[in-house]
Symmetry: C2
Subunit: 312 residues, 2 copies
Amino acid sequence: MTNIDIEISEVGPRDGLQSIKTIMSTEDKKAWIAAEAAAGVPEIEVGSFVPPSVIPQLADTAEVVAYARTIPGLAVAALVPNLRGAENAIAAGAHKISIPLSVSETHSLKNVKRSHVQMLEEIDLIVQRIRELPEGERPKFEVGLSTAFGCTIEGPVSEDLVVQLAVKAVALGVDEVGLSDTTGYGNPAQLKRLTKRIWENCGREKLNGVHLHNTRGQGLANALAAVDIGLTTIDSSLGGIGGCPFAPGASGNIVTEDLVFMLEAMGLKTGIDIEKLLAVRELVQKALPEEEMYGFTPEAGLPKGFVAATGS
Amino acid sequence: MTNIDIEISEVGPRDGLQSIKTIMSTEDKKAWIAAEAAAGVPEIEVGSFVPPSVIPQLADTAEVVAYARTIPGLAVAALVPNLRGAENAIAAGAHKISIPLSVSETHSLKNVKRSHVQMLEEIDLIVQRIRELPEGERPKFEVGLSTAFGCTIEGPVSEDLVVQLAVKAVALGVDEVGLSDTTGYGNPAQLKRLTKRIWENCGREKLNGVHLHNTRGQGLANALAAVDIGLTTIDSSLGGIGGCPFAPGASGNIVTEDLVFMLEAMGLKTGIDIEKLLAVRELVQKALPEEEMYGFTPEAGLPKGFVAATGS
């Protein structure tokens, strides 16, 4: 990961695929992951350890993690809802485990059927479980502060509560917390404000990344705010796959291709070969012929004479 | 214009309508302009004084300018390609006249059939013409530095040349220059760099606005960079009308609704009532049933419990 300014964490195989009807075959997932890794994407969230009855699209996550582990240099991340999921993720060999802690307790109860207290207990158990592992085998453990920018059920969430939950998670021993704009409610000023407050209360090294949605078209502006303030990891999804809760052009996750174009155009190295990244799209579209893919840069093409910050 | 942090200049009736096939009726244009003004939009570019044979969609610009002038508080802007257009704009009563000076000379020759030297001569003549008017009747005269971020024909343009042309225009006596990302090539770092250099060489008061395109999805990120550095006027188009050179979701101009949402969410007053602005969309869609309208916020709706910076 040397010589990278901003680390892109591709979440399409998890956040993207869980939101669409089509179930991608395990072979297609492997091909997608391999192709993005070959384009230079440093981290990929490849699945979620949830019961197949809940998210059948990700039933093969253990196999996908095991495969992704064989790709040299790739950081393999997986989402887990609870201790059981974490144990499965550890068994499969994930390098990084993320758990959602929704700032909106209403959302938390709907999403993972647990209150804040119950989630913090679960997080505590996972921290203990990871500490039992030999030092070299411990995955990185991150708490994603979901609905940190607002909730579709509760409306605005308290910024104090965002900070309090971050402090509690860090006190339990998690490696990092992340800010998640689950609902696409976030704005650049809010992102900078929340980041500063968490840094002040938890230590700067405890918050490095954001997970943004483009529901109201604010995704790249929020990503720019993140980069401006000094965050270094940004989640995104190839082709914005998975998130089309609304009409044409709307998308859920921010589009990896547009994000990488922005950063590379600004002179920020992602380590990603954007031409190769754009080529991965065809492979994924072939595997998901029924699904729409989003993104402006892929349609418009790179500017004439474009020079990326990351050399080929 | 007191109590406004960022001034939105709506360019849909000009830049939007000139790019689509449908010719909007004069009555529909008037209704659109009246409705946006009533929503609080402070400035609208209502047309372009070009020969009807070139852009038949804007053949009624003189009538539209005259009508828009009757709306209290609204700044009425019009584009002109040359002295003749400026004379027509002055006769019609435009408050603001803009002329494109394309940094890519190749583009200038294609777009307005004039070299840099010829365009600067034309600009000089317009400045003289305006000075002949009584002081209270002089329109504001702005030079839009088109293709300032790159050209689809020439590729990258020299930043030195952008600055040189800005200096020459200001030396001729224009009120302001504006940065135009005609091709959607721009990135936030470039925008800040160009702005600083023009400020250093022309004086800060000579550059206040940007005209951005969303061709590669960078529109709002670039608008955020503009606001961050201290620019105060941003062009945008309701529904992103007019610019769909590429596939679904792509758009030309940045979408007024998404831009206003970003600014208001950040606590920056635009003076615009966003609910009223969103309602204007229906009126325009009815008048342009064949044309696609873009924008994420209109589709997703405002966040639950959203509080805008501009009070109703």
